[in-house]
């Protein structure tokens, strides 16, 4: 069934038991993003140590796709350098815009390749990207904050 390409098992698992959910720690930067068409919201904390992503945690409301996506993303990006993380974000964004034409690079995206099916459902792409856009925003702001020595 077409639907199963959207709702992969790993997505439903992360939806039911999300990782890194709950705001904690002393974030370098906190951002709040909204998807105006469906009302999904996310607050995302990033903790940086120079270029290193020490922690990502978040809270929010949203559908299975948006919740699972941010859960898988957090797991994937913690411990990476911001540069490397941005490459992953780029790869994921590309996958989302592929309209089902690519499967996604499992080396880079790991569990996040499960979202390949989302790209065939235009209305859900924004759900899958919500957390990633929040991360990108937080990381960029966090970095430049550190550079300016505001931290």
């Amino acid at each position: 069934m077409e639907l199963d390409s959207l709702y992969q098992e790993v997505i439903l698992d992360h939806y039911k038991r999300p990782f890194h959910k709950g705001l904690s720690g002393t974030p370098t930067k906190q951002v709040h993003h909204v998807n105006p068409s469906c009302g999904d919201e996310i607050t995302l904390n990033i903790e940086l140590d120079g270029d290193l992503i020490r922690d990502v945690n978040w809270d929010g409301v949203g559908c299975s796709i948006s919740q699972a996506s941010v859960s898988i993303m957090s797991e994937l990006l913690i411990g990476k350098s911001v540069d490397d993380a941005f490459k992953v974000v780029e790869e994921f964004t590309e996958l989302m815009q592929s309209k089902g034409s690519i499967l996604g690079n499992e080396e880079v995206l790991e569990d996040a390749v499960a979202f390949a099916g989302v790209s065939k459902f235009p209305a859900r792409i924004k759900c899958a990207l919500l957390g990633w856009m929040a991360f990108k925003d937080a990381a960029s702001q966090g970095l430049s904050q550190q550079v300016k020595g505001e931290k």
């Binding site: 077409e2 469906c38 999904d40 949203g62 559908c63 299975s64 759900c127």
Partner: protein, 418 residues
């Protein structure tokens, strides 16, 4: 099951889109008429006829096509006016209900000091907590621009307008009361008579957002004794790109214009202009002529079927839906659960499944519902939900459509194992 009121199966045949095949090879079960309605062939043909036979700019030419275009456009206006129980001069074509409501807010905002519609700090605009953004934000922003205060009717836990504080809410400083006729989320039909009486008692004007009422049941602006009304054509079987503002002649006549430009003027110099009489004063530029003609064909179609029959038909579907859905464990109706003062809109939530996911699974069965905040975010917050799944009915929906919905909801639950 017998539905003697309306043969929706037969009506469906007038709407070409029901021939489409949806995801999973399913037939279209369209339950999103609250967002926009489907269009009968007669409406598409009316538009095409205008374009292929009578297309010319109205108000602007003395040749035969221009005369015919004028006549088509005037006739369309008369049909809408009659449908609402108003006058030709009182019926303004806009692009949508949203524009109609903004027209009012901007026109009031343009009023010179001392004018009837002039707003200043201390003045009050009253709305309700169940407004669609289109009947909230124009007033909210007008209040900000003028320093007036925005106040609102709360809603009860059942999703009805709480009128208990009506006399303090609508007070002597109140200039405008703008309320929806039927909630697009809850299906609640607001009882208007006391609201309107109180509004007039304090000398304010009453604006009715009739987006969810004009297409679905009989209304008459004179009987209601309202001052302004707005609705959108696309929710009433009509084309996109057309809406209507109806206003009491005596009020429209003293209002400032909104959009300015060609066709709405009397005289123009480089530094000054005077305005044309109603209704042209509020219609600047070459108007949406074909859409006006299409809308009039839509209203004629509704009239031929009969608004009262349509309303009763929708109520029967609502009765079915409320009955079946509330029997399913884990499903909660959002809004009134009885048929009192209610239209054909049923919002609900399913424990453990986000509305967006509900909609996705239903889509796989060919069922089109709306999910999310329905452009009524303040209402969602008040109800304490992130969103709902909403089924909205119209004259082409059958009891079988409701059964499909109910089966679909059950399959959502089994898919997500809740």
């Amino acid at each position: 099951m017998t539905f003697p009121l309306l043969d929706a199966h037969l009506i469906k045949k007038d709407f070409p889109i029901f021939d489409r095949v949806m995801r999973g090879g399913n037939q279209l079960v369209y339950l999103d008429s609250g967002a926009t309605s489907q269009k009968p062939l007669t409406v598409l043909d009316a538009e095409r006829q205008f374009y292929t036979q009578h297309n010319a700019a109205v108000h602007r030419g003395s040749y035969l096509l221009a005369e015919e275009a004028n006549e088509s456009y005037d006739n369309a206006r008369q049909v809408v006016a009659t449908f609402l129980g108003g006058k030709f001069e009182e019926t303004i074509f806009t692009k949508s209900a949203t524009e109609a409501l903004n027209l009012l807010a901007y026109s009031f905002g343009n009023s010179p000091h001392g004018d009837r519609f002039f707003l200043q700090p201390g003045d009050r605009i009253v709305v309700s907590e169940m407004e669609h953004h289109a009947n909230l934000i124009p007033w909210q922003q007008l209040a900000k621009r003028t320093g007036a205060e925005l106040a609102w009717f709360p809603i009860t836990s059942e999703g009805r307008l709480d009128q208990s504080e009506i006399n303090t809410l609508i007070n002597d400083r109140t200039k405008i009361v703008a309320i929806t006729h039927q909630s697009n989320v809850l299906g609640t039909i607001n009882p208007l008579s006391e609201l309107i009486a109180r509004t007039h008692e304090v000398g304010a004007v009453f604006v009715l957002d009739a987006c969810q009422s004009v297409p679905h049941f009989d209304i008459d602006v004179k009987e209601l004794d309202i001052d302004f009304l707005a609705f959108s054509g696309h929710k009433a079987l009509g084309p996109t790109g057309i809406g209507v503002l109806w206003g009491r002649e005596a009020l429209l006549e003293i209002m400032e214009p909104f959009l300015v430009g060609g066709s709405m003027i009397e005289t123009v110099t480089m530094t000054d202009s005077t305005w044309a009489p109603l209704p042209r004063r509020f219609e600047a530029g070459v108007p949406n002529m074909a859409q006006a003609v299409g809308l009039s064909a839509a209203l004629k179609y509704l009239d031929a079927v009969g608004l009262e029959r349509i309303h009763q038909h929708e109520l029967e579907l609502t009765r079915l839906a409320l009955g079946f859905l509330s029997e399913i464990p884990g499903v909660s109706i959002v809004g009134p659960t009885d048929l009192l003062d209610r239209g054909g809109v049923v919002s609900f939530t399913i424990d453990g499944v986000h509305p967006h996911d509900v909609g996705q699974v239903l889509d796989q069965h060919g069922i089109a519902v709306r999910t999310g905040h329905h452009c009524a975010w303040p209402l969602m917050r008040k109800l304490g939900v992130v969103g709902t799944t909403r089924a909205s009915f119209y004259l082409y929906n059958t009891p079988e459509d409701v059964e499909s919905l109910v089966d679909g909801v059950k399959s959502v639950q089994s898919y997500f194992k809740v």
